[in-house]
Symmetry: C2
Subunit: 334 residues, 2 copies
Amino acid sequence: MASTIKDVAKLSKVSVATVSRVLNDLGGYSEETRLRVLKVVDEIGYKRNAIARSLSTNTTRTIGVILPDVSTSFDGEIIRGIEDASHENNYSVILCNAGSKGIRTLAYLKILEERQLDAVIIVSIKIEDEYYKALKKLDIPYILISTTSPKYDMPNIKVNDLSAAYTATKYLLDRGHRKIAMISGTKDDPIAGLPRVKGYVKALSDYGINVDKDLITYGDFSYKSGIDCMNTLLERKKQFTAIFVASDDMAVGVLNVAYRKNIRVPDDLSIVGYDNTKVAIMSIPPLTTLSQPLYEMGCKAFNEILSMLNGSCFNEQIIMNHTIVERETVKWLK
Amino acid sequence: MASTIKDVAKLSKVSVATVSRVLNDLGGYSEETRLRVLKVVDEIGYKRNAIARSLSTNTTRTIGVILPDVSTSFDGEIIRGIEDASHENNYSVILCNAGSKGIRTLAYLKILEERQLDAVIIVSIKIEDEYYKALKKLDIPYILISTTSPKYDMPNIKVNDLSAAYTATKYLLDRGHRKIAMISGTKDDPIAGLPRVKGYVKALSDYGINVDKDLITYGDFSYKSGIDCMNTLLERKKQFTAIFVASDDMAVGVLNVAYRKNIRVPDDLSIVGYDNTKVAIMSIPPLTTLSQPLYEMGCKAFNEILSMLNGSCFNEQIIMNHTIVERETVKWLK
């Protein structure tokens, strides 16, 4: 039979409330009392029970993180940041791997409700109406990372995709490139698709360059689609000296096609990627890319959640800084 | 005030036990009763409370997974497998990112104890005496993936490292290579370090080749250390036509050095990696490598845990099959 807090109180001759205060380090007792209680705890092997405690405090100190695929380095970096910040604050993270396009998101939201988690973070999943409704019904703090809703006001942390794509394209323009192609993410993605195309178009326009629609293709952010899009661009037989690619995975696909077709990077073709994940560092040649601070976004999201749990109002949106990380895939044109 | 299971019983005119049976789909009631109970549940908005239920059933349906770094594609693939299998069986996964060399492992084991998780999986962390003791004290099912203890009997799932390294080296020998270098992982690692060197040495010996110690270097499995080790090998000015590298990340480091020094792969140098993570697919050229079935190992580990929770004895060790995945970094020597 496991010992209870009542046993501890009885043996150390103080009230249950005092034992509880000692165990939670809340003060209001003498050092002598503290030592006596802890000695009894040690002697009878009393263990605090996190489950019973969550029933009485109405908190589980657990948050859920829903993301498409933990095995991608994009999601992996973000959840590493979330988990590190959670651990520092004595919170645990339940991992919810919702699959491609987040198809299991709603199922997970139901599980999280039953488990009475304290908060939810959703990473990089397109927000459907039913997700929004489920979150409202849950009525706990939540935050989105690298996604947002065009329809509802939902707290989120992301970089400004339009502005980041503008920066990436301008980087190529400032180095003398004028024929610049683009491989976009999913065409109808209102978060990471369209705004990046708009940023690319705006930069070209600001430099007085007409946009050639044949120089734009649409993938789905994956390595495989980078290969397909690059092949499509080459088949169109239009000239370009540089290409802006809306994810590092797709950019590495472009490098693969270039390698097979003897197109030298950056001598024949300059490339700027997007994300700054591990593949950008490890590619050959190492990829110049638009960096999103993924790990920091994870930490920041947890810290915002913590503020909300402590009663702060939510921030509607936090825009993180983006930067260009210069490596070896861009050449200055004379 | 939230409604309780008693409210449901009263309004549907059955016992609490019957409501419980209906909600847990256990049978032993008429279809009419089932529909009546579910109607009441719906009408009064009764929610089952996972926390209260875990107090009464003595199970949390939650497992902890402790691994070094979720953002690596190695750990990411394994935990994806674990989480998929858990989700299918209505279990949740608490992610414990224990950091380089698993330095937070003990801290997590204490947290998992307080949270009364049903089971623990430890991935790719060297098992210290104190971890073993903490696991014994926890007294719940556990399993190790891609690690084991040379000292204690602990259930684990892994490939046979010696035999896999033998296979990789033999693959090069069978293609005519005789001067074969090796980049090993950490020298004193009794799991993934030494046994892979032994497999390499055994293959060479079986082909009547003397081992040249100058052709072996020791890294730490990381990309950076692959670069360093390759530079060390080149500085030694010994000839070799092929190299077996004990992780894909290090092998991509070798590719990077080869690229910078104009060593053509596979024309001047053949390379076989180890793991078959995403970087092996995306490297230039794509890497021939020894494949560990990481995702399957994750699924398998959860399914073994489930058997243990249902009362099965544990399996001492499950050895998974390894295979060579042929891509483009090995040349046949005539």
